[in-house]
Symmetry: D2
Subunit: 289 residues, 4 copies
């Protein structure tokens, strides 16, 4: 598919290098690339212990299989809220213990990686760091699952080569995330490139999920884009949810309330069924992890 100078070395991420799709396993309720979709939900930034716990319980109740929450926030302006840092990691671990949901958080600096792996199951590489090759190599040397977001101006070929930077260090557990690219259109925050999902499915064995929250940039667009992402064939979603979006310290405009998220889960579950898949984690009888 991709033209241009192909790498001489066979790529770990390319579809022919494996007989079938890879699965990235977090726990037996949370496997990227399997029949069940993985919906990750939680606040943009961890703002406190209570708000995180409330959110974790609400999203688990609604069927999410994984918790997100930012401890270190890369922000366009140095004067914006940069995240709570290490205390947020403690809160994330506590939320995991309380709900059984595995946790993903973003790492922004190779020097953070060693500490963050002690707290979370999955490391996120943000869009602005997709070609931060030192950081990619560092997470590639861990045994943690990695959620790699597509850069704002990255071609799909560059996206796969970024995954390759991780995998070349030995870590094969990479999940790709389409989150919108930058175009001339400003009616949505970014332009969600849903064709990326079937194209990546042809090119790579890695699971592919979609972030409708950053792409849309406002709550009213998140639900329709989430349905579309599931219908196009994504293996999961990552969605921002906040107990009180209008008070959020970052990206409040795109955060869903608990109710809106529960509605989203019902709708994407039905879209998933069209493809013979399921999205929502059924209510659990006991705390399982």
């Amino acid at each position: 598919m991709f033209t241009g100078s192909a790498p001489a070395t066979p790529m770990s991420a390319s579809a022919p290098s494996r007989p079938r799709s890879s699965r990235v396993y977090l726990n037996h309720h949370c496997v990227f690339g399997g029949r069940e979709l993985v919906v990750i939900a939680g606040p943009c930034a961890v703002e406190g212990e209570e708000m995180l716990l409330d959110t974790a319980r609400a999203v688990r109740q609604a069927g999410a299989r994984m918790l997100r929450g930012g401890a270190f926030k890369p922000r366009t302006s140095p004067y914006s809220f940069q995240g709570m840092g290490e205390p947020a990691l403690e809160f994330l671990a506590a939320a995991r213990r309380a709900t059984g949901l595995p946790v993903v958080t973003e790492v922004c600096d190779p020097r953070q990686v060693e500490r963050v792996v002690e707290y979370v199951e999955m490391l996120q590489i943000g869009a602005r760091n997709m070609q931060n090759f030192s950081l990619l190599a560092e997470v590639g040397r861990t045994c943690r699952q990695v959620l790699l977001k597509r850069g704002l101006a990255a071609t799909l070929r560059e996206f796969l080569l970024a995954a390759e930077h991780i995998m070349a260090q030995g870590n094969q557990a990479v999940v790709l995330c389409e989150r919108g690219i930058r175009t001339f259109e400003t009616a949505s925050r970014f332009t969600l490139d849903l064709a990326a999902v079937p194209v990546l499915k042809e090119e790579t064995h890695l699971p592919v999920i979609v972030d409708p929250s950053h792409a849309g940039g406002r709550a009213s667009l998140v639900l329709p884009l989430a349905r579309a992402a599931v219908a196009v064939g994504a293996d999961g979603l990552i969605v921002e949810v906040h107990p009180a979006p209008e008070q959020a310290k970052s990206d409040g405009a795109q955060a869903l309330t608990f109710e809106a998220f529960a509605d989203l889960m019902r709708q994407v579950d039905r879209c998933a069924a069209v493809l013979g898949r399921a999205a929502a984690l059924p209510p659990l009888a006991e705390a399982e992890t």
Copy 2:
């Protein structure tokens, strides 16, 4: 929503100007903006009478509610096939008589409009002509329904203002079509901007459909993008179908076979059901128009 210099005159296309969504009526099986989605299907270009009739029967059988076919083809190069011209209009009218499907075809020149309206129910304005204001005015002076495609680099605000150029002449029966915008990504032919659908639904009362064929640019992307378009809330689809895509005189790479189109109809029908809608026209007992 849209910032910048708002027009002083109230816009006909804007949402507040009407109490609810408009419906654009072709016949009682084919109403844009209602509960039933309208799937338009047919060849990129009409290449002969028989191929058109075969295609029309096959797409009707599969549940399409409308037939497309190009008589006049605007082509990037002057040395490419430019369409059969007037004979193609006769074939389109014959296919309508044989199948009962209403017909849409593109007009490229204001001088064609007078003649084309005698043959077809709906006039298409192609993406490259979205700001051909003479042509917009000319179709605005007819009593035919208009399918207006978004320009490759048109913002949604400019798209709505192009519709306004038609409506300002008195013709309110405009259906908008998202067909992909031009971005840096070349893995798909264009980047399908599905957020355009919910954004337009907030901004205008006009029906909105999606063209997954031109956006994807190859057959393998058409089915997933069609599912996504329905899931995001589109009021219909326009899909290229050809009896033998590998022999098509234009855009063969993105044309579906009859079988692939029938599969698409089954899948989009199930996606539509998630939203309480239906896509496929049920098999008809007799020829109804």
Copy 3:
């Protein structure tokens, strides 16, 4: 250079089809593609006879070799000023008689062409009509020089194929104009792609000029972009000038005053000298045409 499906028929616009650069001749002071640059100047829209005459005299005095002025204005909104129409053509012809400057004006509709050729030396195809193939064919059947502007989202290959649509009708006197493409950056109105000039010089024998006014979108950017355009190797410029920019009926923000234009001419003349060329028309002893 350009990859992808090359046209089977040799292209008239391509560089190898001619031994050296073409010249497009208006009069002996105004030859596109020669040692002297051609600076075209005038108002965005003709707003009256006096304002046009004043502008024509001022820009000739400053060294412009040609007059521009819009009679028919394609506008994004149907409720904006659409130009004076035919009376403006009379005023343009009168300004030519008074100053000796050849005149260029935009045509938007194939049905206008026959009339407009009676008034002006050169027909402009605007950016939004670059792929209005009926219009291209119509101007291709005239014996008038054509100024073809690049579309907002047109690749350079598509730009040359648009020129080919004109030349395939027999008219070889085409001048290309880079005027900025649409990108994510909004600090300037469009993104002026100055690399287009040397790329086009490699690919085609046709003259290439630059429009710094539409690209910049505000007066303060016009002068630096004009210098850059000349330094990159353009064969000329087209610049918007208005007696009172703050009162202009269209695009006033980007129009230069007479004084600012005279300053621009002095500066671009010195940039042209670096490349062994000249920009400004020397003051004429008598009215010569």
Copy 4:
């Protein structure tokens, strides 16, 4: 100029925060933001001691005021040449001693910064790291001059906020570099946005230079883009030069030969003169630093 949420805290980079343009001083022949332009030249990657010394001597002879050379190369593919690393830093220091030219090299990892500052005068932040905020903060804590390249999809507002991330740590010696943005056009490697220079000059007191090599992506475009950059008002250039471009280990297509660079210096010097500036460092009687 820029709309949207302005930072509450006054920005260090913004124009009104200083009475006039800042100057970033390397030595008395090399001051960014003064009357003399600063042309930085050298190989994309340091490939050995001899090639670097030869290049340093050639570019100084031709009038360059500063030497560039990559020790750590961020590459899209993990299987491409990644730079020589630390030995390259030694070679750069040796080349400085031999020629008196100050040296700039890229840092990619916050953990490299402490070591690299011992070898070079100026630290480069590459386009892909423009929003690597850990790295920005780290160079912001040094006393070295910083060359900050614009990201491929960064708006000018985001570019200035990236500079602010450095300046907020106390380091005010930031030079901005426009190096092309990613657009749909592929005839040049990136689209050089020369309007960025006058826009940035309105918005910030920081010096602004241009990289015509990465923007053009091939040698034939570097010279015209360099002339245009100087004519638009840039405070300098950064140009890739290699003793044998066809054998370069990275980016050979865009590297100039020594002869081509000497020609470039002559031409940009004449363009600079139009603006009352000078580009080329005059031949030095003795080794001065």
